[in-house]
Amino acid sequence: MDLNTIWFILIAVLYTGYFVLEGFDFGVGILLPFLSKTDVERRAIINTIGPHWDGNEVWLLTAGGATFAAFPQWYATMFSGFYLPLFLLLVALILRGVAFEFRSKDPNPRWRSLWDWCIFAGSLVPALLLGVAFANLAQGVPIDSNMEYTGGFFNLLNPYAILAGVTTIIVFTLHGAIFLIMKTTGNLLEKAQMTARRLWIPVVVLLLALLVGTYLSTDILDKLGVDPGIVPIAGFAAILATGYFLRKHLYGWSFTMTCISIAGSIITLFMILFPRVMISSLNPNWSLTIYSASSSDYTLRVMTIVAVIFVPVVLAYQLWSYWVFRKRIQAKPETLTY
């Protein structure tokens, strides 16, 4: 396997990790206004993701940085091409990030409500935009012979992409609800359980629709064949299993299943892409590939050494931080960190 392929896989892993991890904290952010009646409950919900959301977001930053380092042409084409969605994503992430820190720093209900809105919208909008962006990656976008994106903003808002965006929102919400079931107690726990049970059927329907849409809108048939292989099947089977485990009250398993389902979907996307990184809808020869978009062999080698040394270290201490905060959060003022 050459270095270009290794880096394609590594970037796929980073985006997969990002969707699985930030997926649940986006879901928790989306559920925030729906599940909480009191300020204490809201704080309890926020505290379930409080120690983790920032570390989760770094997966996106690292994926972006790795794309720049390993495939600068991909980085340049995608980031300048998806300009307005990325701008909206940045604004949403900015407001969400400060909201977590700012909301409890002033007791005024209006102040808190303002930042709670930012957490809600800052979780919903990125979920939508990420779904839209990745669907466009899968089905291809107008790219000319100079690797420049020639479409506009509304090119990106096609039915398949919007379906993917909505699906991402609902899947993340379910993912977040199950996370809350594992991290809360009492009233919040019950509400999270009810939410997860109600969301399961819409999630299955949407994912089925997305699967059909993917067969219609992308070249998955040419790439993966009629039998697409273990990854997409496992991804879909996992979402069916989620329903089973929810009914059996086995929430650790349910969460594992939503993780597998999200990971399966993202990996499938990268399998459709490979060895391309940006598909041109104008001319297949104009697609960017892991070879035409990549850095030099020398840079890839340097970056591989860095990644081999530090990725395991990062994974180890991030896992440790989840272990430190493994306990459930109680919606009692005296136990909450503000």
Binding site: G55, G81, Y83, M303, F310, Y317, S321
Partner: protein, 464 residues
């Protein structure tokens, strides 16, 4: 408006804004870590209160520094795609390494630090804040390695019209980084020190929590003296390096039109940029040579000579930065830096002689001096970036060749206005919170008061 100008304006605004908060993050992280170290070593609750109070201010500032940093990472691809294509082979690597080595470290352990006070052994909790401080400063190393390459490209070859890395160690050990990083590191600690000094002076003046703020004052006065002295020393070294590698930046910062030997230092110049001549100038003979070479003679190249030299080397074009910006930012930076060194010495002296209470004007000046590091940081950054004009990568790529060819003025306006609005709102919120907590003092972060802070349960719900 020309897209290049809009992209530059956007980069300037978002970068200056980001760097408005970053130095405090770099420095205050270290100071809070020192405070908590004393808590762990002595077991005195006072030091815990101190760490929590300054930690709260740190967190407010940290949040905004982090979120504005995301824009920086994406902006190269969004607005400067041709730049990204040209330099990606070299420039992308330190950015990716920064995320992997620094962002994960600071974000993960900050989460541990905020939520781990009662969940972790004291020493592990202390380790967390030290790792945050380490992560923040490692982040500065890598982004400055990337920036140093733009100031002084090394370890590359131009292959197929793109810069390719030929030596990672040359990029890593770029001579420029040895001047730039110590300067930024010290500026962070000076910013942190003056932040703590300023707020402590305010409370000492109002005689609230005198004990706690005197200890904070003491720590900050010591670090303030040490690092403002270092700041001056490594700033001087950096300027000498600049004379060697980017003489035009120095010529512009000194409004030196023609080469001089020995060269004079401009005390005050009103220049005529169009005709490149002085309208009015007071210059100190030989001082610029002294600054540049540590001796009373030595040629410092002038703007006109360098323009001619560059035209011969790089072809026709304008190679002169808008001198008014480097000229004044250089003076503001050095002036603010010198003033900070004097004030830090004064603070330490008054503390040592136990005369602080007798000189309220000194405490008042120290409170006002809170603005000085911000002036120095912002102007220093503008000097280093504007002074590189017209290059985005010195000698290799001009600014106008780096912009995204397909991004329109309309898109740039949209994002520019969007950022300005959001950033404007955020700075208002940040300043409001910082002032509120800084004025209230540590009672606002004591454990028992956190529970009281909670409002009634009858909140307006977002969604009914």
């Amino acid at each position: 408006m020309d897209p290049t100008l809009l992209a530059r304006l956007q980069f300037a605004i978002t970068t200056v804004y980001h760097f408005f908060f970053v130095p405090l993050t770099l420095g205050l992280a270290v100071l809070v870590a020192l405070m908590e170290t004393w808590y762990v070593r002595t077991g005195q609750e006072d030091y815990k209160r101190m760490s929590k109070f300054w930690g709260k201010l740190f967190l407010i500032n940290f949040a905004i520094g982090v979120v504005t940093g995301i824009v920086q990472e994406f902006q190269f691809g969004m607005n400067w795609s041709d730049y990204s294509r040209y330099v990606g082979d070299i420039f992308g690597a330190p950015l990716a390494i920064e995320a992997l080595l620094a962002f994960f470290l600071e974000s993960t352990f900050l989460g541990v630090w905020i939520f781990g006070w009662d969940k972790l052994p004291k020493k592990v909790h202390l380790l967390a804040i030290w790792l945050v401080a380490l992560g923040a400063n490692i982040s500065a190393v890598w982004i400055l390695i990337a920036n140093s390459w733009m100031q002084q490209p090394v370890g590359y070859a131009i292959i197929d019209g793109r810069a390719q890395m030929t030596s990672f160690s040359s990029v890593l050990f770029n001579p420029n980084i040895f001047y730039q990083f110590p300067h930024v590191l010290s500026s962070g600690l000076v910013t942190g020190s003056f932040f703590v000094l300023g707020i402590s002076a305010y409370h000492l003046l109002h005689k609230s929590e005198v004990d706690l703020f005197k200890r904070s004052f003491q720590l900050a006065a010591v670090t303030g003296v040490i690092f403002s002295a270092l700041l001056g020393i490594n700033g001087h070294a950096q300027a000498q390096h600049m004379v060697q590698t980017q003489p035009m930046k120095m010529a512009a910062a000194e409004a030196l039109w023609e080469s001089q030997d020995p060269a004079s230092f401009s005390l005050f110049t009103i220049g005529d940029m169009k005709n490149r001549r002085d309208v009015f100038a007071i210059r100190i003979p030989r001082l610029l040579s002294l600054l540049a070479y540590n001796q009373l003679s030595g040629e410092v190249k002038g703007i006109n000579n360098l323009q001619a030299e560059y035209e011969a080397k790089y072809g026709p074009g304008d190679y002169v930065p808008p001198a008014i910006i480097p000229y004044w930012t250089f003076r503001i930076m050095v002036g603010a830096g010198t003033l900070m060194f004097i004030l830090a010495l004064l603070a330490l002296y008054l503390l040592w002689r136990e005369k602080l209470e007798r000189f309220p004007w000194a405490l008042k000046s120290l409170t006002l001096a809170l603005l000085l590091p911000y002036m120095a940081n912002t102007s220093g950054w503008l000097l280093t970036e504007v002074g590189r004009y017209p290059w985005v990568v010195f000698g290799l790529m001009k600014i106008e060749d780096g912009v995204s060819p397909r991004v329109t003025a309309g898109m740039l306006w949209t994002s520019l206005i969007g950022y300005v609005l959001v950033y404007g709102m955020l700075i208002a919120a940040t300043v409001y919170l910082l002032m509120k907590f800084a004025k209230t003092g540590p009672s606002s972060t004591d454990d028992q008061n956190l529970a009281e802070e909670q409002p009634s349960d009858s909140l307006p719900s977002l969604v009914r």
